[in-house]
């Protein structure tokens, strides 16, 4: 964008002008072009605008590159042969890219506890089961909260707000003791129960707004036409709250896919039940500085969730940010 050529640049220019019209609201960091313009009154407004656009784009580029650098370094290390990883003068990109790190991760040779695909399958099962259960249960509860007025409604809502803030590490001790008695440690079912329940408060909180926006008249009309409540639920309410379900699914997906402390505590030494974060942690804790394979495993762990974020970015922003909930 710093090379103003063609229609795209003209558009940028126009946009820059519009932005300027909206005022300079930033602090000191962005005031350099401003100062420049004041010093040169003969400079045309057009040139000043261009200087300002270039300055802003320069800062934007810098922010983006600094933010991206760790990710680029992770992927680049994953493709480097070990003599390049431990080279005295590291380079940004691998000179001789190799898939060797990935093949040791896939074969299970590098970690010694199994192929990355096994852990990927564990993570995927846990995540999908969590999303399904949490979506269904929170939809039912949000219908209750949005469509009915009942005695403990306000208390229930405040309870949700408070329990979502209870730190997971404070509960892990009791959860460990309980799930030990229930024989649910060292298997994926235990994780699914905990994750689904932990996702509920936020999911209900988000979904109830979506349910509340579905016009009651639609349901009433269907009821007059003789539709049963179950039919009304599936044919009218469900399709209309689907966007809300997508937003809550994103939330529970991220929670389950990234969760660390419960899996760490529950799964113990049962390697075949490890989810991806625990697998990466085990691999990392084994020492021996296998940075190539560790970065390959981290890349494989991270890429799916990055693609997922990019696909759902609009809903992510609308859903999570509107609810002021962090992913």
């Amino acid at each position: 964008m710093s090379a103003p050529k063609g229609g795209g640049a003209a558009w940028t220019e126009e946009r820059g002008a519009r932005n300027e019209g909206r005022g300079t609201r930033e602090g000191g960091a962005l005031s350099a072009p401003e100062a420049h313009r004041r010093q040169s009154p003969l400079l045309s407004a057009r040139t000043a605008r261009r200087t300002k656009t270039i300055g802003l784009n320069g800062i934007g580029l810098l922010v983006a590159l600094i933010t991206l650098f760790p990710i680029v370094w992770m992927v680049s290390t994953a493709f480097k042969p070990s003599q390049e990883i431990y080279s005295l003068t590291p380079h940004l990109l691998p000179a001789h890219p190799t898939l060797g790190n990935f093949s040791t991760v896939v074969s299970g040779r590098a970690s010694g506890i199994g192929s990355v695909f096994m852990f990927f399958r564990n993570s995927l099962s846990v995540t999908l089961a969590t999303v399904l259960i949490a979506s269904l249960v929170s939809l039912l509860a949000s219908v209750a909260v949005a469509r009915f007025r009942f005695r403990f409604r306000a208390s229930f809502l405040i309870m949700l707000l408070i329990v979502q803030m209870i730190p997971g590490q404070a509960l892990i001790i009791a959860l460990f003791v309980d799930f030990n008695q229930l024989n649910l440690l060292q298997n994926l079912a235990g994780l699914i129960i905990v994750y689904a329940a932990q996702a509920l408060p936020v999911s209900i909180w988000m979904l109830r707004n979506f349910v509340a926006t579905v016009p009651k008249e639609l349901e009433e009309a269907a009821a007059i036409d003789g539709a049963t409540p179950v039919r009304i639920f599936w044919r009218i309410l469900f399709p209309l709250v689907a966007p809300g379900l997508v937003a809550t699914s994103i939330f529970s997906f991220i929670t389950a896919y990234n969760e660390f402390i419960v899996a760490l505590t529950f799964l113990g030494q049962a390697h075949q039940t490890y989810t991806l974060p625990i697998y990466v942690t085990y691999f990392f804790g084994r020492g021996g500085a296998q940075w190539g394979p560790i970065m390959a495993a981290s890349t494989l762990y991270t890429i799916p969730v990055m693609i997922f974020f990019l696909i759902v970015r609009r809903r992510l922003v609308n859903g999570l940010v509107a609810g002021a909930v962090k992913g």
């Binding site: 992770m74 039912l140 509860a141 469509r147 309980d178 509920l200 660390f260 560790i294 969730v305």
Partner: protein, 337 residues
């Protein structure tokens, strides 16, 4: 407010039951549900059950454990559980490691929260003024940092700051001394030298992961500010700094308040990143409160769920105090309507 249950009374009898069944048993249940207005409670039951089992009951247990000598023998049933009064609390308050971990936790939050909020707000303001393509590029970069799971990000930063082959040490060793001090940066160990060095890395890591959320939220708020306000201020020759504090900040204050409270809670709770970067259970002088608690409960010899419970209770009480602020803010902003 008319509710679904009451509306069903207007329906022909064969359509009245919740299950959609016209069989007599279903109809009886349906009538019972209607008469006692049970529908909302039935809909809530699965959610309440899950929350009670996994969130509320464990919280109550933590309180109980904190007054008991609960440990491995009690877990396996080999020895009886005994009430020991405030012993877990007195031994916690007598432990210098507890006070050190509390100090680290508070200082870390005190540094990371303003860093995250300022960085995020500045990037949000920047995104609002960039052209469409550059804004998309910057926000995509931020989105990718945000998407990186905590475990992957922690392991990655451990590698970036590694003394053997890490790119940060290499870069610092190439920079002139007047810029980076006289420390011998080649082979500098960030994670074992001391808490200050380890938490420097942790600060960069947590800000990197958390600023995108603040930026995107701020941007969403900025889109709602009428442009005329800034135009009027510009005509009056107001400086950008003044415009931020006189226009942007007052209008976005509710958003900033929620972001502040959430950030305090999140940064107080940091576990994954500190666990991995301090090399748990080594480096005890780098424990934050979460690590200290986890160590007492699971890594001690023997593990003490009682001590862990006492700590979890202290920890939860601190977080709940902050949460009360969050809940009050949410309720005042009309969250319950």
């Amino acid at each position: 407010m008319a509710d679904t249950v009451q509306r069903q009374a207007a329906l022909p009898p064969e359509h009245r039951t919740r299950g959609g069944s016209s069989l007599p048993p279903g109809a009886v249940v349906g009538a019972f549900v209607r008469r006692h207005k049970l529908a909302p409670y039935l809909l809530l039951a699965p959610a309440l059950g899950g929350i009670a089992l996994v969130l509320l009951w464990p919280l109550a247990q933590v309180v109980i454990f904190s007054f008991q000598n609960y440990s491995l023998p009690q877990l396996t049933g080999a020895a009886p559980t005994q009430w020991i009064g405030l012993a877990n609390f007195t031994s916690t308050f007598a432990d210098p490691e507890f006070w050190l971990s509390l100090r680290i936790t508070v200082l870390f939050a005190a540094v990371v929260v303003p860093f995250t909020l300022i960085t995020g707000t500045l990037v949000g303001l920047l995104l609002n003024r960039l052209g469409r393509k550059m804004a998309a590029f910057v926000s995509t970069a931020a989105l990718l940092a945000w998407a990186t799971p905590a475990v992957a990000a922690s392991v990655l930063f451990y590698w970036l700051f590694n003394p053997d082959g890490g790119v940060v040490d290499w870069t610092l060793s190439k920079l002139p001394h007047w810029l980076v001090g006289s420390t011998n940066w080649a082979g500098f160990n960030w994670t074992t030298t001391g808490a200050l060095q380890a938490y420097t890395v942790l600060t960069i890591l947590v800000v990197w992961q958390a600023f995108p959320f603040v930026a995107v939220t701020t941007l969403a708020g900025l889109k709602t500010v009428p442009a005329e306000l800034y135009e009027a201020a510009r005509v009056d020759g107001t400086s950008p700094w003044r415009m931020f504090w006189k226009i942007t900040y007052p209008l976005l204050k509710p958003i900033f308040l929620v972001l502040l409270l959430l950030s305090v809670i999140w940064d107080f709770n940091v576990f994954t990143q500190t666990y991995l970067l301090t090399g748990f259970p080594g480096n005890r002088d780098e424990f934050n409160l979460s690590l200290y608690m986890y160590d007492k409960a699971f890594a001690g010899f023997p593990p003490s769920y009682g001590l862990g419970g006492a700590l979890a209770l202290i920890f939860t009480l601190i977080v709940l105090v902050i949460t009360v602020g969050y809940v009050r803010t949410s309720v005042r902003q009309g969250a319950l309507t």
